[in-house]
Amino acid sequence: MAGTICSDILDWRALTTSPARPGNPGPVTLVQAVDAALEAELAADPRVVLLGEDIGRMGGVFRATAGLHARFGENRVLDMPASEAGFVGAAVGMCLAGLRPVVELQFDSFSYPAFEQIVCHLARYRWRTAGATEMPAVLRIPYGGGTHAPELHSDSPEALFCHVPGLVVVTPSSPADAYSMLRWAIRHPDPVIFMEPKRLYRSTRGSLPADPDPEGLPRARVVRPGTDVTIVSYGPSLPTCLEVAEVLAGRGTSAEILDLRALWPLDETAVLTSVRRTRRCVVVHEAPRSCGVGAEVAALVAEHAMFSLDGPVVRVAGLDAPFPMFMLEDLYLPDPGRIVAAVDEALR
């Protein structure tokens, strides 16, 4: 091609994925499930609007909104300038005007410019108006590492949001959960931080359930029952934990895998019920260890199930260091070896 020097590399057309539809034969990816949930809620409720960078004709950098601009038009799927504080703030205003905005923050770290709007307004407006206004907004945040992404595209900031009163923080770990939990989140009257494990966007497949999650708040789910140890995890670490459960089963240890699904509020009953039964607890997440969700789970167990424990609560987490440049990310992310070692410590 004219103008190239080394090679003919100017064809930027990417592999495209077609949007999934509920009832489609065959499994869909997690990102297709997100797309399908957005489509279903856009169709079901004219108050639902999508805001974000590149979500329109492009369909988002992850294609999570593929096809939605074409179907619903620019008044429902609104491309935003590179202005996270501006459009998260605008979402607050849209809630005041009676809409239900669903905001895509392109990557985890892109939530940081919007942090003041999230903390000071989205989370507080209902309180500040004595319950007269609701903030039924959803902030979708693709998060986590393991995708060989540039700096500040692999963070796991979920605990930051869990620490902000007035927000609900949830994260799916399967296409079915992504679909039903996102539909639930869009219908929920309180602001929901919807953390999407971007590493699982295309690495997991499943079928779409017919309906949104009917529960009032997403509850934790036992995804693999066991009797010897409870491994509490969520989002991107879940498949790794299931892998570990297989390894442990091979050597005669029965691990129960509990997917939290909601990080705030925690399903305290589910955690305590499982831990009281297995008497051992390991918590796994890739966010930094200190003051993370794992610390909250450990505190919960210490406060309310201490005398049921036969061993220490052990955390497997990221380091208290910036998420590394990606040549080192496999060292940083919890892997089966570290989780097995943690289980051994809990069982000791």
């Binding site: 501006g86 605008a90 607050v92 205003g93 005041l96 709007q117 000071c120 307004h121 108006t129 406060e303």
Partner: protein
């Protein structure tokens, strides 16, 4: 429509009452039809509110209070320039603006005694609650205006902010976003030259903050913030343009912060109060009253009576504030979430206890 060149149902002829005149005001020579006496009455009410609030603070009946003494023309004119269905987005220095739309003064003051019963339903008064973090309410105005527009409404959002807030990133993001979306928003900057102790020269390197409008592709105007008719003319023109689909505007109402930043501030530490004294001679209410006297719309006795009426009403509101019972601990958690989790403190009282569950 106030301030419209066209004669509509809200024209001077139809509005009636003493002092209803067609006047010429605003930097662009817009014809404004305005009830001058109504504007004046609102300004007097704001002044009485502000002075009573300062007194309440000095007496320990409320906490720190951000006075707006001298900014009454801007606030009253802005409220008059919009329709009831239009929403106002406020910073803390506009804490009395909801009072102009029906909020009891004592409820507004309750905010400054740290009382959550000061919280109100924004839709009842068309006012978003006062926003403490600078400029962060400006994107709300954009979103609200876009939200109404997407639902087929013709309402306009008017957002107040100050010269200090103009330096915040949210001000930039809001104005850029509004312009890109052609959202019906009027950005009204009260440039009182001081952000606590920081003068305008340390805030901005432009002569007029309205010059920034050009960078956003929107009209900008600077008017005398002590001249209520000038503010009204400029804001009304911007409101009309927004409502007609012409997108946002930036109006800079230039004035001088005659008072302190707030009751805990001592401006003599950082500025020459002799300069302040000069500005105080230009304060808007006395000047406007002289104009109304000259035009024969007011007699001296009218002024005295109106001042007394306003002061008396605010004194009574102060007594009602004192009579409000103290809030209970339930208010801390009552309205945080529509759907609280099972572990949430119950309706009787929040609890800090823990134990085996």
């Amino acid at each position: 429509m106030i301030g419209s060149p066209s004669v509509g149902s809200d024209s001077p002829a139809s509005r009636g009452g003493n002092g209803t005149l067609a006047v010429r005001a605003g930097s662009d020579g817009v014809d404004c039809a305005v009830d001058k006496l109504r504007l004046w009455t609102m300004m007097v009410r704001l002044r009485a509110y502000d002075e009573r609030a300062t007194l309440l603070q000095r007496q320990g009946r409320i906490g720190a209070y951000p006075t707006f003494w001298g900014e009454e023309a801007i606030q009253a004119a802005a409220v008059l320039a919009v329709r009831d269905a239009d929403w106002l987005f406020l910073s803390y220095r506009q804490n009395a603006v909801p009072v102009l739309r029906g909020l009891p003064p004592e409820q507004a003051w309750a905010y400054f005694r740290g009382d959550p019963r000061s919280f109100f339903d924004p839709s009842q008064f068309g006012c978003a609650p006062q926003c403490v973090p600078l400029a962060t309410h400006l994107p709300h105005a954009v979103g609200w205006a876009m939200g109404r527009r997407l639902q087929g409404g013709d309402e306009v959002a008017l957002a107040f902010f100050g010269d200090g807030a103009s330096s915040e990133g949210d001000a930039h993001e809001a104005m850029n976003l509004a312009s890109v979306l052609r959202a019906p928003v009027v950005f009204l900057c009260t440039n009182n030259q001081w952000a606590i102790s920081t003068p305008l020269s340390r805030q901005a390197a432009v002569d007029h903050l309205s010059a920034r409008a050009a960078g956003y592709g929107m009209p900008g105007a600077t008017v005398d913030g002590y001249d209520p008719l000038a503010v009204l003319g400029a804001v009304a023109e911007a409101v009309d343009r927004a409502r007609d689909g012409g997108g946002p505007s930036l109006v800079e109402a230039s004035c001088y912060r005659i008072g302190p930043h707030a009751t805990a501030d001592d401006p003599s530490l950082y500025r020459d109060e002799a300069e302040t004294a000069v500005w105080r001679q230009r304060e808007p209410i006395g000047r406007f009253e002289q104009q109304l006297l000259d035009e024969g719309l007011l007699a001296t006795q009218d002024i005295t009576e109106e001042h007394e009426r306003a002061a008396s009403a605010m004194r009574a509101a102060g007594h009602r504030l004192d009579g409000m019972p103290a809030p209970t601990g339930v208010e801390m958690t009552a309205h945080v979430l529509a759907v609280p989790p099972p572990s949430w403190p119950g309706p009787s009282a929040p609890t800090f206890s823990t134990g085996e569950r």
